[in-house]
Subunit: 247 residues, 2 copies
């Protein structure tokens, strides 16, 4: 049985964020993916709670908890994970790819709070910030352009955390009932009649053409419903072709 | 050996985007994840190329291709996928979860261009936009807050596309070359002409019928060759229907 994710145990911690629109965007992504607990450490803009980018997440943003230090912001968490754009600078920490790190985080969420830290837009997390982290997580961006927008990075990380959640609301593609050979053949016969009536099929070559048309129709992998609709179309066309035959 | 993803075959298509900052943010995410081809259809702000949010992706944004219609923007693509926040409105299309849809898209990218469409911030994609799509893809957001920020939605979709980049097994090549959207649309237009000439389509209901027919044709997953053959058949039928019109 899938264990329910304890999303309320995740704390998104934004450290020294410069642009309040990014805080709002982070709040929106949290709300989109079912997270609730936003923490900010020394935001550049004190009026960040008014950020208009928190569409649909104004309450979540209003409830954000403010801290003076990373130590305080992660104090009640059993795991602190820093995010980094850079996979290879002389990092003193283990670095996990997002999809692997997310597994670890999900496990920890069952039993306690987990802090997921995002640094400032310009500099990311400082070495001092990182020293509060158990390990680092890396979104696999292109070597040529590593640095993501903060709001987008938050959205991608949170998506990965809930990606394999057993969602009841998950829409499955509707399986369309396939057409039976009988239905397909009736439709093919009508099509051949129309092709003959239009002059597309020449009487001489008709066996070969019949086979070609039949194979073509079978490559379409028609559903039962679509076959009926097509049959209706072809019959109407055929009726019109025949009703206007020259005398 | 892992087969390289043909990221250059993906076209991110932004339809009727209102806020140019979102176009810039989409460009940045594309650059982060190694994609290059941005297309915009009727953007609200004509000066969108100056969007400052395209940090590190100014060139990609400058190279964005502009179109007047969705049909034109997807014309050279063999697959068009619409994104939707809503998993359950009376959608006429199959809907796949992002992680499942991404699999299909990766397969198609090997042999041709794929268009991934994002609608406007307020309304998403219209029914007319959707009628150009083969199926829809849904980011599994919370029931309580479905609607994502556009730039964040683009980032999440592109992340999922490259997420398993280095771990996928060798793919099988597709047997038949798929038809481009342009070919399919030409065939659809001819079919609609024939349906009108035959009286199957009533003028009153023509918008709805157009969309229905367009969706039906896209469910057929036509090859390039079969599309051409069908176009030839329909044109002959149409010629015959018109040449025998009563005076």
């Amino acid at each position: 049985l899938p264990v329910s994710l304890k999303l309320e145990n995740l704390c998104v911690v934004l450290v020294a964020t410069r642009n309040p629109l990014n805080i709002g965007a982070a709040a929106r992504a949290m709300s989109n993916f079912g997270f609730q607990r936003l923490r900010v450490v020394n935001p550049y803009e004190l009026a960040f709670r008014e950020a208009r980018s928190a569409v649909g997440a104004a309450r979540l943003l209003a409830d954000a908890e403010e801290y003076k230090s990373v130590a305080d912001a992660v104090a009640d968490c059993t795991l602190a994970v820093g995010t980094t754009a850079i996979g290879h600078r002389e990092l003193q920490h283990p670095v996990r790819l997002l999809k692997d790190g997310a597994d670890q985080i999900r496990k920890k969420l069952r039993s306690g709070r987990v802090a997921l830290l995002f640094g400032s837009e310009k500099r990311g997390l400082s070495n001092e910030d990182l020293s509060h982290c158990h390990w680092l997580m890396h979104i696999p961006t292109s070597e040529a352009h590593l640095s993501m927008n903060l709001g987008q990075a938050v959205a991608v990380c949170l998506y990965e955390l809930v990606r394999d959640k057993d969602t009841k609301a998950a829409p499955k593609p509707e399986k369309q009932e396939p057409a039976t050979a009988d239905q397909v053949e009736r439709m093919t016969a009508a099509l051949l009649d129309a092709l003959r009536a239009s002059g597309y099929v020449k009487p001489r070559s008709s066996t070969v053409t019949n086979e070609k048309v039949r194979r073509l129709v079978r490559r379409l992998h028609l559903s039962a419903t679509d076959t009926d609709v097509l049959l209706g179309m072809i019959r109407q066309i055929l009726w019109k072709l025949q009703s206007h035959k020259p005398m």
